[in-house]
């Protein structure tokens, strides 16, 4: 009796289940969307939001999806730098319409860039680098005529660099009329744009339920052309194993952020395509040099570079999730150094420490208790021990660790740094810049005072010549690689898997380089 009843119940319930495939006109993506807090380009700065922006909005210029270091005219048809190198005049593309049907006007460009500075939310720092403030931004954005808009700045940066910033998601052009029709109390439409879109990208937000689903529908009037699939459904599936099952069963077309174990399970399956895409995310060990005399000693920094078991972690511990990378610009960025001069060599590290008279060195490593941080930290604990350095792990939730590090309340930390925009300065201004003006750059967090590198970082943003810029960044990377309180060790890869029948999906190195419009199945 007691076995019969559950059997009947299961049999009954199973009759309701039908093997489903994804709808033919919809791209179904299984990923975690718990991080998303806003789909307003002036606010959204988390992975899920940023991945959506390129599909919802367009910028004046955008990276070529197939070769991201090349910027392509998008909403601008052409541009001209001013004679003083402190302004750019853009000619707007003809006949562009937003998803609302409103035509693109210079006012929309002025509104979109101005509101970023005036709202002063998370990603606004990308544009305030130009010297723009709430008070002066309006004077830097000028309508020339119905087809032309001029952007000027006071900071000592080149037009090339400004174009990189204008290609970032925060510079997305928003339909002023739609946004302002839904504005509340001087919020420039922010509260509405959190869950709606007003752009000219290939898709628009049809439905957004936090922690549940983001549904995009085609914007047939997009200047980018109508997308091949009518809808994109991004559903929140927090557990990677469940994402893999959905993909295998054909209930999802793409499963994002899988673990190495999920990728191993998908190996050899003919109906799915696993992919490991390098991301602009570097994992590095960082020391607070004021925490102890040993941590301030460059010999200790050097020894640490030989105590990081790069290959062991990338190939054996976290199979396929990382590649070894030892410079502060990730592979794929303009000017990135991709040679990896250091290998795990405890004997050499011991010799360096002995020569510097450093004995019984130990430090506390503050680290997020989430994978892969804790796994890497445990591997480091073992590899440093072989070089005679004792590492005590201090695990905490990631926000707690971040707060402690930003308050200098730590000795060492293992963390990840993701690029904020697609220009080498995004990382140079973190690793090699400490202006001591209240900016909590990575160098500041290390208490590392670097007037010479500061100058180089600034000079590189002021340089217009691409080849010269590359040279500058290469030199800075070599300097930081050789002599800094960081050990950059790993570059993350995004592990995703697609159904084999899917074509046209492009994903680039930066989080915003996710392109759905050419996907078909």
């Amino acid at each position: 009796m007691k076995l019969l009843l559950p059997a009947i119940a299961v049999a009954l319930a199973s009759s309701f289940a039908a093997q489903a495939a994804t709808p033919p006109d919809t791209l179904v993506i299984a990923q975690s969307i718990d991080d998303a807090n806003s789909f307003d380009p002036a606010q959204g700065f988390e992975l899920t939001s940023v991945q959506a922006f390129t599909n919802l909005y367009q910028r004046l210029v955008q990276p070529d999806p197939k070769n991201p270091v090349d910027l392509q005219p998008t909403l601008a048809s052409s541009w001209q730098a001013g004679s003083d190198n402190r302004s750019l005049t853009f000619a707007l593309r003809d006949g562009v319409k937003f998803s609302s049907g409103n035509p693109l006007r210079p006012e929309d460009v002025i509104f979109s860039l101005g509101r970023v500075v005036k709202l002063n939310l998370d990603p606004s720092f990308i544009l305030t680098q130009l010297g723009w403030t709430k008070e002066n931004v309006d004077s830097h954005l000028k309508k020339i005529d119905d087809q032309h808009v001029q952007i000027s700045w006071t900071a000592d940066v080149s037009p090339t660099y400004v174009l990189s910033l204008l290609a970032a998601p925060v510079s997305s052009i928003v339909d002023e009329k739609s946004a302002m029709a839904n504005a509340q109390k001087n919020d420039f439409g922010n509260s509405w744009l959190i869950a709606h879109s007003a752009g000219s990208g290939p898709y628009q937000i049809r439905k957004y339920i936090p922690h549940e689903v983001l549904l995009l529908s085609a914007n047939p009037t997009s200047p980018a052309g109508a997308p091949k699939l009518k809808n994109v459904l991004i559903k929140n599936v927090p557990e990677p194993a469940a994402r893999r099952l959905l993909l295998e069963q054909g209930d999802a077309d793409i499963a994002r952020n899988l673990g190495a174990d999920q990728m191993a399970a998908l190996k050899g399956k003919t109906d799915v395509k696993p992919m490991a895409i390098p991301m602009a995310s570097l994992y590095y060990l960082q020391f607070n040099i004021d925490a102890s005399p040993a941590l301030k000693n460059p010999a200790f920094w050097e020894a640490s570079r030989y105590l990081f078991d790069y290959k062991g972690i990338a190939d054996d511990l976290l199979k396929g999730q990382f590649q070894v990378h030892q410079s502060f610009l990730p592979q794929g960025f303009l000017g990135a150094l991709n040679d990896n001069p250091y290998t795990y060599d405890p004997a050499k590290a011991k010799a360096i420490l002995a020569k510097a008279g450093l004995q019984n060195v130990s430090f506390k490593l503050s680290v997020s208790n989430q994978p892969p941080y804790l796994d890497i930290a445990q591997a480091l604990q073992a590899s440093f021990a072989r070089g005679g350095v004792k590492v005590e792990l201090i695990p905490g939730i990631s926000t707690e660790v971040a707060t402690a590090v930003k308050a200098h309340q730590y000795q060492a930390t293992l963390n990840a740094w993701g690029a904020d925009y697609f220009d080498p300065n995004t990382n140079a201004s973190a690793f090699a810049y400490n202006p001591e003006d209240g900016s909590k750059t990575l160098a500041w967090r290390s208490n590392w005072h670097i007037p010479e590198l500061n100058k180089q970082t600034l000079a590189a943003t002021a340089e217009s010549d691409k080849e010269k810029r590359i040279k500058l960044y290469e030199n800075m990377q070599r300097e930081v690689q050789k002599n800094s309180p960081y050990v950059v060790g790993l570059q993350a890869r995004n592990l995703i898997a697609l159904r084999a029948n899917l074509t046209g999906y492009i994903q680039g190195i930066n989080p915003d380089m996710v392109y759905y419009s050419q996907v078909s199945k």
Binding site: A13, S14, F16, A20, I209, P210, P238, A241, A242, L245
Partner: protein, 350 residues
């Protein structure tokens, strides 16, 4: 005279009951307030800086100060708490820092998902738990009893996370008896207009039978996984209570009078353990309501458990306080309900 006494008696009973109700409500309010104070203090003791969470890594000092002021975090703790209470009195639970939407609307959206899952799991767990306990108490020490004990022990000890993944692998991926994670297949997401937030009700009201069937296909597996947890608790505690009750003298007397084992168990012993039964059922139900976060994670179930956990990791204080209040309220109300039920059904407690 007799009439007068009866009137006075019923009036006394009325006041007694009214007094009990008032005391109950008062203790409910005090408990909720205590819970809020505790959660409020705990969330402020957390080493996470909520300003950095909002303003971001690159915020200037002036932005930092401005955000801190906007959040009211520059005020002393008691002032912050008082402000929260005043807003609460106006039905305003604040804005979640993670979703940027009102906490009240977030909870209204997520709670029905948890409520539906927990209630169905409870019905499953109570039905099979009581059945298994009765079967076990029928012949203690027998093979049947041992099997029942083993099943309940398994329900207790197998991690629900693992059981959920295993269930998905077997029933969804291999046997295709169940639908995948989520509450509904993707094709319905376009058409379903949520009215109650309870998918069973909404899909039924939509009149689309396919959708209703699909809801059940999605629901049954997480219900069974979570229900096994409740079943284990109910079986173990109820079995123990039934055996203890069976050792009493009136049972021996009934046996001596020739009553059958089944008659004794069902008509004499079982009704006498109703107090334990009510307590066990209510405790199981409340733990399902608050503690289904792992099941919700595995089955991509957008419930309040996951909402609260995500808020905790992000140090989203308004969301944490709102969810605590909701779950605490449920816990206290259900406990009060259990007390009332015991009071009404068991004259010994009056």
């Amino acid at each position: 005279m007799a009439g007068f006494t009866a009137e006075a008696g019923s009036a006394r009973l009325f006041w007694l009951r009214g007094g009990r109700l008032l005391t109950g409500l008062l203790s409910l309010a005090v408990t909720l307030l205590g819970l809020l104070v505790f959660t409020f203090i705990l969330s402020h003791l957390s080493p996470v800086d909520p300003v950095l969470q909002i303003a971001g890594d690159h915020a200037s000092e002036s932005t930092y100060v401005q955000v801190r002021h906007e959040l009211g975090l520059d005020q002393p703790l008691p002032v912050q708490f008082w402000r929260y209470l005043v807003h609460l009195a106006h039905g305003n639970l604040g804005i979640s820092r993670l979703t940027n939407s009102p906490v009240a609307s977030d909870l209204l959206r997520t709670f029905p998902a948890t409520f539906e899952l927990a209630t169905c799991a409870m019905i499953f767990g109570a039905f099979f738990g009581i059945l298994l306990a009765l079967v076990a108490a029928w012949k203690p020490g027998s093979v049947v009893d041992n099997i029942a004990r083993m099943i309940s022990l398994l329900g207790y000890s197998v991690p629900v996370f693992w059981l959920g993944l295993l269930g998905l692998l077997l029933f969804y991926a291999v046997l295709h008896w169940s639908a995948g994670p989520g509450r509904l297949d993707d094709i319905w997401i376009y058409t379903l207009e949520p009215k109650t937030g309870l998918m069973l009700v909404d899909s039924w009201l939509s009149g689309d039978k396919e959708m209703f069937r699909n809801t059940i296909a999605h629901l049954w597996l997480p219900v069974v996984v979570l229900g096994l947890l409740a079943m284990a608790a109910i079986t173990r505690l109820l079995r123990a209570a039934l055996l203890e009750e069976s050792s009493k003298e009136y049972v021996t007397l009934a046996r001596a009078k020739g009553a059958s084992r089944g008659r004794i168990l069902l008509l004499h012993v079982f009704p006498n353990v109703r107090g334990t039964l009510i307590t066990v059922l209510v405790l199981s139900y409340t733990s399902l309501l608050e503690g289904s976060v792992l099941t919700e994670t595995v089955f991509a179930w957008p419930g309040v458990g996951r909402y609260m956990t995500t808020a905790l990791f992000a140090s989203d204080t308004p969301a944490i306080l709102g969810s605590t209040l909701l779950i605490g309220g449920c816990f206290i109300t259900l406990n009060a309900l259990a007390d009332a039920l015991t009071y009404l059904t068991d004259p010994r407690t009056r």
